[in-house]
């Protein structure tokens, strides 16, 4: 690398014309070449001693590099390495820029910045070497290093094993964090990217004021989840068909609570003209059942207040707040129970899904556009992109994201398994009879009680952005211990039928987190742990639990 970087600087100086024919005979050029020769501890190439010009120097360095490459490339075949290290590490990397600024007045005072991209492609040993250069850097040289988050394998150096410290030897800029500081700015940044791309493709991007105008809305733009729920039901069920959630409740009561007056309970929860409120009434019956209360009595008590809600009256109590928080998930359950795909539509959803990475947004839009074309539509050319194209496109993008992000090695496979377990569990929780957390796609933990392997997989998922670390954790309500908070990347939401918004946070026990993240936990044990968790959320709610106070704090 020493020779490689040295060559780059020499080539740059030649490109700047500092060694051109008119200057070749000046002292500057010859002094520079002589100075570079002097940086070597010994001359490993005979032509080094005869160099006068920059061109000759460049050729000589190229030859040294080539000889080194050939020797190294043949080691595996010959099992011998014949290489002589003729320069102390750092002498060329720092020395050539220093010489250049001292020798050529035209670039005096300039800083040389080495830009090293795709740092993740270097091995740990190679990164140690670069870290050492960063630690020992000398003016006028600096470094800008680009890497995927998972690619920073070590901060160790070759300087007695010292580690570089953020804020001291280097500053770290995580692009997602920079974007996350302002949702509004990130949204508008994404819009500008999209408009620019569409403009380059010849689309008139300035006529629609909002990019959302290119995308059709669910059910032709019907506003309100309640109305959309009504339309879904009318399209999927005949007038005489029983609604699936009613059937389910009936069957469960028959099986687990046959002593109840099931017919009367069902009558109290029916809201034929508002399926979403009906779902809400069913949820309240489940909560009542789980609490060990009398579901028929409570259903009667709730009914008139739900009726008022359904009629649009202002009902200023806990019930209205509860409905407001749960209606999104209840709608998702309704759609699922009618065997319709979950709805992911429009720029706002897509920007949220991108997880603060514009690249994800572009891939998502690309997939949506491709599906639109496949369906015979004319996206961005006067025809709206259909719901189907959007739904199928986001699912493709979600699949792509999981396989693209999982990383190399066995830990990559283990991380994918953990993410699938976690996503599947969030889905089961969302579609349970009695979900507790609203639109849950996050969890918090103080990381205590987790096995080393579980922590390794969790951290790997975070470094590969499959799971996002929420910058501000929260303090546990009772102990005030700071909890680390993690969110399943919203790009994965469609894969598991989750909401793209971050709302409720699950409190998994250490045992549950180990089951999720430790790859040594086999499928049988994971399923057992999952079943235990879900037993609280699905009839017959095997362990009656007092309903916790709703907590929607972020």
């Amino acid at each position: 690398m020493e020779i490689w970087l040295g060559r780059l600087v020499v080539d740059l100086i030649r490109e700047l014309g500092l060694g051109n024919a008119q200057l070749a005979n000046t002292t500057s050029s010859m002094d520079f070449v002589k100075g570079v020769r002097g940086l070597f501890d010994e001359e490993i190439e005979s032509s080094l001693s005869q160099l006068d010009t920059l061109d000759q120097l460049a050729v000589s360095l190229h030859n040294i590099q080539r000889q080194l490459d050939l020797s190294i490339n043949n080691v595996a075949l010959t099992r011998s390495l014949d290489v002589r290290i003729a320069v102390t590490p750092g002498r060329l990397v720092f020395g050539i820029p220093e010489l250049a600024t001292r020798t050529f007045p035209q670039i005096s005072g300039l800083t040389f910045a080495y830009l090293l991209d795709e740092f993740e492609n270097l091995s740990e040993d190679q990164q140690r070497y670069v870290n050492t250069l960063v630690r020992e850097k000398q003016l006028p040289t600096t470094f800008v290093i680009g890497s995927r988050q998972f690619g920073l394998r070590t901060q160790e150096t070759l300087s007695a094993g010292e580690e570089n410290k953020q804020g001291s030897e280097f500053d770290l800029v995580v692009l997602e964090d920079a974007y996350r500081t302002s949702d509004k700015y990130y949204h508008s940044f994404c819009e500008r990217i999209i408009r620019k791309r569409l403009d380059a493709a010849g689309v008139d991007v300035y006529r629609p004021e909002r990019l959302d105008a290119y995308f059709s809305k669910p059910l032709g733009g019907v506003s309100g989840l309640e109305e959309r729920a009504r339309i879904h039901v009318s399209e999927c069920l005949g007038d005489q068909d029983e609604r699936p959630w009613i059937i389910r409740l009936k069957d469960q009561l028959l099986q687990w609570s046959p002593g109840q007056d099931i017919g009367k309970i069902i009558e109290e929860v029916r809201f034929p003209s508002s399926p979403l409120h009906e779902k809400f009434a069913v949820l309240l019956v489940y909560r009542s059942w789980a609490d060990g209360n009398d579901p028929l009595r409570e259903a009667r008590q709730f009914r008139f207040r739900i009726e008022a809600l359904a009629n649009g009256a202002r009902v200023g109590d806990d019930l209205a707040t509860t409905y407001k928080h749960y209606r999104g998930d209840l709608y998702a359950q309704l759609v699922s129970q009618l065997r319709r795909p979950q709805e992911y539509h429009g720029i706002d959803d897509f920007v949220l899904m991108s997880g603060y990475l514009p690249r994800n947004l572009l891939v998502l839009l690309k997939q949506v556009t491709r599906w639109s074309l496949f369906l015979g539509e004319h996206p961005f050319r006067g025809e709206l992109i259909s719901s189907k194209a959007q739904t199928e496109g986001v699912r493709e993008a979600s699949n792509w994201f999981l396989s693209d992000s999982k990383g190399l090695g066995r830990i990559g496979e283990e991380t994918e398994l953990a993410v699938r377990r976690l996503g599947g569990l969030f889905r089961d929780m969302r579609f349970a009879d009695k979900p507790v957390e609203v639109s849950c796609s996050s969890f918090s933990t103080d990381r205590r009680g987790l096995t080393d392997r579980a922590i390794a997989v969790l951290d790997n998922a975070v470094s590969h952005s499959l799971i996002l670390k929420v910058p501000t954790g929260r303090r546990e309500r009772n102990t005030h211990v700071l909890q680390h908070k993690y969110q399943l990347n919203p790009m994965l939401a469609p894969l598991f039928d989750l909401s793209v918004a971050r709302r409720g946070t699950a409190n998994f026990t250490p045992e549950q987190l180990v089951a999720l993240f430790d790859p040594s936990v086999d499928a049988e044990h994971f399923i057992a742990e999952r079943t235990r968790l879900l037993a609280r959320l699905n009839a017959p709610f095997s362990t009656p639990t007092p309903q916790p106070a709703l907590d929607f704090s972020e």
């Binding site: 060559r7 490459d69 595996a76 075949l77 190399l408 990559g412």
Partner: protein, 321 residues
């Protein structure tokens, strides 16, 4: 430079004609559970017949073949693999005009690619290579070849070039196989490079071309757009035609220029051999490398049946090593 790989000899044998295969002094095959590998080994006549066991197939002792000499290699490094094998099989003392034949069907691609170079360095002048076509793959386009994680993407030993600082003009030529994850990995490793993709056409069986395209399409996001001029085609079971196609295309691209050249043969073993021949004849010492996504394990049986056997005569003195 003009190269004509069609001058190299190919012979074809139907599944019912295996007794017509030539006789060799030493026949080497990499054991797996495919019928085509076992049938060819059993049918071939040679003074020495040797099984090589790759650690990637993860065989237990009780699962090893009972016929022939069995050499279990424990290293995954392709250069050390051959060093160890040559040492165990006493290759250094073999007469240099020995008739050597290798069935590459079960070999890992990096290992089969390196073998001609290693034999040339030992002083051998000729090598016969056998490859057998399956009737079909076990699960069609859903057939899983590599198993487990891809552990690294790196240059294959003996196929490392002397590169220039890369820019936008790097080229990556991918030999597309069914393993879309491998295509994805290598494409991601050379993110900035312009991609060309070679498909086996004619394919080993007529339906396999479509299966191949379907699988390769899954890696589309990593590969990027592939206009028609970025597609190459060569018969999936003809390494010489593969080498010729590479030669012709690269010659054509030299006029527009590129900085560094990378190859990654992820298709059939015959295709991989073609890439190896092209590289060893024309690219050694240049700014070209073969990069490969190394997976932990490979499925032991992916194919059904044996359609035909090909025998390629590789003239090792053609190699520029």
């Amino acid at each position: 430079m003009t190269m004509d790989y069609s001058l190299l000899r190919i012979d074809q044998y139907q599944a019912t004609e295996l007794e017509a295969l030539p006789e060799w002094d030493i026949f080497i095959s990499a054991y797996n559970e495919s019928q085509r590998v076992i049938t060819v080994f059993d049918s071939v006549r040679a003074q020495r017949k040797e099984w090589v066991i790759h650690p990637e197939y993860d065989f237990e002792d009780g699962e090893l073949p009972k016929t022939g000499v069995v050499r279990v290699l424990h290293t995954r490094d392709e250069a050390e693999f051959w060093h160890d094998y040559f040492s165990e099989a006493d290759f250094h003392n073999l007469p240099r005009d020995s008739r050597i034949c290798v069935d590459v069907t079960g070999f890992m691609r990096p290992h089969l690619m390196l073998l001609p170079r290693m034999l040339r360095l030992l002083g051998f002048a000729q090598l016969d290579i056998v490859y057998s076509d399956p009737r079909e793959y076990q699960s069609g386009e859903k057939t899983q070849f590599s198993k487990g994680a891809v552990t690294e993407v790196r240059q294959i030993r003996g196929f490392e070039g002397t590169h220039l600082p890369s820019g936008d003009e790097d080229l990556l030529v991918i030999g597309a196989g069914y393993d879309d994850d491998l295509i994805r990995r290598v494409s991601e490793d050379k993110r900035a490079a312009r991609k060309l993709m070679m498909f086996g056409l004619p394919s080993l069986q007529p339906h396999m071309y479509e299966e191949n395209r379907l699988r390769a399409a899954r890696a589309e996001e990593a590969v990027g757009p592939l206009p028609a001029r970025s597609l190459l085609f060569a018969p999936a079971n003809n390494p010489f035609a593969t080498a010729q196609e590479l030669h012709d295309k690269i010659q054509q691209l030299r006029s527009t220029g590129f900085t560094n050249l990378y190859f990654s043969p992820l298709g059939t073993k015959a295709q991989a051999l073609g890439f190896a021949l092209y590289y060893l004849c024309e690219c050694v010492g240049s700014s070209a490398s073969v990069v490969f996504p190394f997976a932990e394990y490979y499925t032991r049986e992916t194919s059904i049946g044996l359609a035909r056997v090909w025998c390629y005569r590789v003239e090792l003195d053609w190699l520029n090593v």
